[in-house]
């Protein structure tokens, strides 16, 4: 009880200073004179490798580079927190950041449930969210808000990328191994639709409990179906375990595995021997060209691992946000959102990419195939880039969008 009073006094002081500033008649250019960015991510759990600390580093790099380039007239601060992939922790933290700490923009939000929990809070408090980590198309569909940007990737892009491209490469019969929860179902449905639309056939599917540990019986079913391609509609350790076990049972390389949501960190865990030949879609690959290589090497120096598309997306989106604030002369949400949507993104992450009305950044994706061990010449040299998927093919068509903000 004593503790409560002490902490109450401290917090009261903070509240007092914040309240004082924001009720000032002539508001400064940016609220409190500081642009505060919050990186809300998974620092210690299932997704901490593909996002996590790397995301915080990416955001910091963006801030430092921006301050060097633009000699910004306002201070910029970064705060970060671990939402442990829980929607309630995320929304609580977001609320605290917005109400108490003056945070202006929240980014990363890996794991769909955290993004969906934080977006309405941001809308209520009139702040911006820039989602880089989460995947569901609901973010720019039914749950879209006008203070949100969905920057890096979604399940549609993954489905269209891998699904369409694999069918065109000859993989026209599919069988799905699906994690039995909303994310897995939507990934299976999106990809199945794409396969059928491109002349392929879905021979069947089997759902495994989430999270699963042993997939042998489900994989045997997939094998029995005789499908050319086994689509893995799952993520994280479910995916890596399925892949390992498929190799064990001699299912690969006879049948091809398509990892519908995979990151370079997963390939790193599995090793090329196990993952070789797999198809996957990502929005970024560090080794694409000189620009991506240059940035990724800088990232590697700080994080000791190559960046995933989430990391790259956070750098790019944070930079885009800061540039919009500078150009608009304020951090007011409505003005900055408008500026971000009207300015194209042109950096190592995306070329001539635009943010649509529903918040989705429309940019290219890449169909990748994992190299064989003997084809890899240096660390993290993991992929062949098989195809570039043009930006407009990789997003839900406006006509099909369920977002009320979109004019059809």
């Amino acid at each position: 009880m004593k503790r409560n009073i002490v902490s109450a006094a401290v917090v009261a002081a903070l509240i007092g200073s914040y309240a004082g500033v924001s009720t000032a008649a002539s508001a400064p250019k940016v609220s409190d004179g500081v642009v505060k960015i919050g990186v809300l991510t998974d620092l210690s759990g299932t997704y901490s490798d593909l996002a996590g600390n790397g995301s915080v580093i990416a955001a910091r790099m963006a801030v430092e580079d921006f301050q060097k380039q633009a000699k910004s007239p306002f201070k910029i601060e970064i705060v970060s927190a671990d939402h442990q992939n829980k929607g309630d922790l995320a929304s609580n933290k977001a609320r605290e950041w917005f109400e108490r700490d003056g945070v202006d923009m929240i980014t990363d939000l890996v794991t769909t449930s955290t993004a969906l929990a934080v977006m309405p809070v941001a809308k209520e408090k009139n702040r911006i969210t820039m989602v880089s980590g989460a995947a569901s198309t609901l973010i720019t569909g039914k749950n879209c808000t006008d203070t949100n940007v969905h920057y890096t990737y979604d399940t549609y892009a993954l489905a269209v990328g891998t699904g369409k491209a694999v069918v065109k490469q000859g993989g026209d019969t599919w069988f799905f191994l699906t994690a039995d929860y909303a994310f897995g179902h939507s990934l299976e449905k999106d990809t199945g639709d794409v396969v059928i639309a491109n002349g392929g056939k879905v021979l069947g599917s089997v759902r495994h409990p989430f999270p699963g540990t042993d997939f042998s019986s489900f994989l045997l079913k997939a094998q029995a179906s005789g499908a050319k391609v086994i689509g893995l509609a799952n993520a994280g350790t479910d995916t890596t375990n399925s892949i390992k076990q498929a190799a064990e049972f001699g299912i690969t390389p006879k049948q091809t595995l398509a990892g519908l949501l995979m990151f370079i960190t997963d390939v790193n865990t599995l090793g090329l021997k196990t993952a070789q030949g797999m198809y996957l879609t990502e929005g970024f690959y560090w080794d694409l060209n000189d620009e991506t290589r240059a940035w990724s090497k800088r990232f590697f120096e700080r994080h000791k691992k190559m960046p995933t598309m989430v990391h790259a997306g956070i750098y790019s989106s944070t930079m885009h946000y800061l540039q919009a604030v500078l150009a608009a002369g304020t951090d007011d949400t409505k003005v900055v959102m408008a500026k971000m949507k009207s300015t194209p993104v042109n950096d190592f992450f995306a070329k001539n990419a635009r943010i649509r009305d529903d918040g989705r950044l429309v940019h290219d994706f890449y169909l990748l195939q994992v190299k064989k061990p003997e084809e890899s010449k240096y660390p993290w040299d993991y992929y062949h880039v098989r195809q570039t998927i043009p930006a407009n093919d990789a997003v839900v068509p406006i006509a099909k969008s369920e977002c009320p903000l979109v004019k059809k």
Binding site: S44, G45, T46, S48, D49, D180, V206, R207, H208, P209, P211, T213, D214, S216, S217, F218, L220, K221, A224, T237, T240, N241, K244, Q245, E248, F249, G250, T265, D266, T269, L270, G271, T274
Partner: protein, 304 residues
């Protein structure tokens, strides 16, 4: 008949075989817990964490020892790990028992459960902090790679080995406890410690060794599981609930009970996966709930 049920005989047999593999794994995994509960009346909630430690030691030995000592020859092979990991983790278990658990014997059993639960949180948290959550890969040892064509499916050699190793250790343990002199001392010591101590048997030592043995069994299962599952700090937490179910259904006092139940549940799970896959996670708990209500001592147990 098979066509009516919508599956091929090949499909059924392969799923049953997989069920057998899983069942033997459940059996060896639950054995340590059954020994500790059967002999000591302690629910060892840190069983999952100790299983994970076994797997990690195998992985560390194989991949990190060469790095630390600078010599590639220092790598601990799978076969060595099968012995070293249980020893190391078993010793750790003995340490826990001597420093912490023994203080709780006079109290309600609930405290032992809570202590081991807290220990599990600590161990898992530490490993998470040191190694992250993505998991490490552990290769199947060379001699066990490849598969055997048994006609209706390709049975990976490693999985066949799991069946053999699990069942051998299970039955060896059962034999020692139920049929040898040492085993009878152990059983007597836990049923009536004061009397047995009066006979000159060092009861506290028996108890300590029993706990250490149960923990070593968990670690052994960990090494067996390392090549199949990704070696990650949460690998134990994922399985611990299933292990409880096996031990509870089998009968919390009976070694044979948990062995038979482990196998049985593996087979039932396999069958469920054929006909109604979404229920495969729940079926174990449904059975657990039913058994607990109808025959609470478990299928083979005696209520205490």
């Amino acid at each position: 008949m098979f066509e009516l049920l919508g599956i091929t005989p090949q499909g059924l047999y392969s799923q049953l075989l997989v069920g057998l593999i899983n069942g033997s794994f459940y059996a060896i995994l639950s054995l340590g817990l059954a020994v500790i509960f059967g002999m000591l009346n302690i629910i060892n909630f840190s069983h999952g964490a100790q299983y994970m430690m076994g797997a990690f030691i195998a992985w560390l030995g194989l991949t990190q020892l060469p790095v630390w000592t600078g010599s590639a020859d220092a790598a601990m092979s799978y076969w060595v790990a099968l012995i070293v990991a249980p020893l190391v983790v078993g010793l750790f278990g003995i340490l826990i028992e001597r420093t912490m658990l023994c203080r709780l014997y006079k109290l309600d059993h609930l405290y032992g459960l809570l202590l081991t639960f807290g220990l599990a949180l600590i161990i898992e948290g530490l490993f998470r902090d040191w190694y992250g959550i993505s998991g490490q890969r552990y290769e199947i040892p060379e001699s066990l790679q490849g598969a055997i064509n048994v006609g209706f499916m390709f049975l990976p050699k490693y999985r066949a080995w799991v069946i053999v190793a699990s069942l051998s250790v299970c039955f060896a343990t059962w034999y020692v406890i139920e049929r040898t002199k040492l085993g009878s001392y152990l059983r007597a010591a836990t049923e009536n410690p004061k009397l047995v101590q009066a006979f000159g048997v060092n009861v506290p030592l028996m108890i300590t060794l029993t706990y250490g043995f149960g923990v070593a069994l968990a670690a052994f299962a960990g090494v067996l599981g390392a090549p199949i599952f990704t070696v990650s700090p949460k690998m134990g937490a994922d399985l611990i609930i299933v292990v409880f179910a096996v031990v509870v259904i089998g009968g919390m006092g009976s070694i044979l009970g948990s062995i038979v139940t482990g196998l049985g549940l593996g087979l039932i799970e396999g069958l469920t996966k054929v006909f109604y896959p979404e229920a495969s996670a729940v079926v174990i708990f449904v059975i657990m709930a039913i058994v607990l209500m109808v025959r609470p001592a478990g299928l083979f147990g005696r209520e205490r």
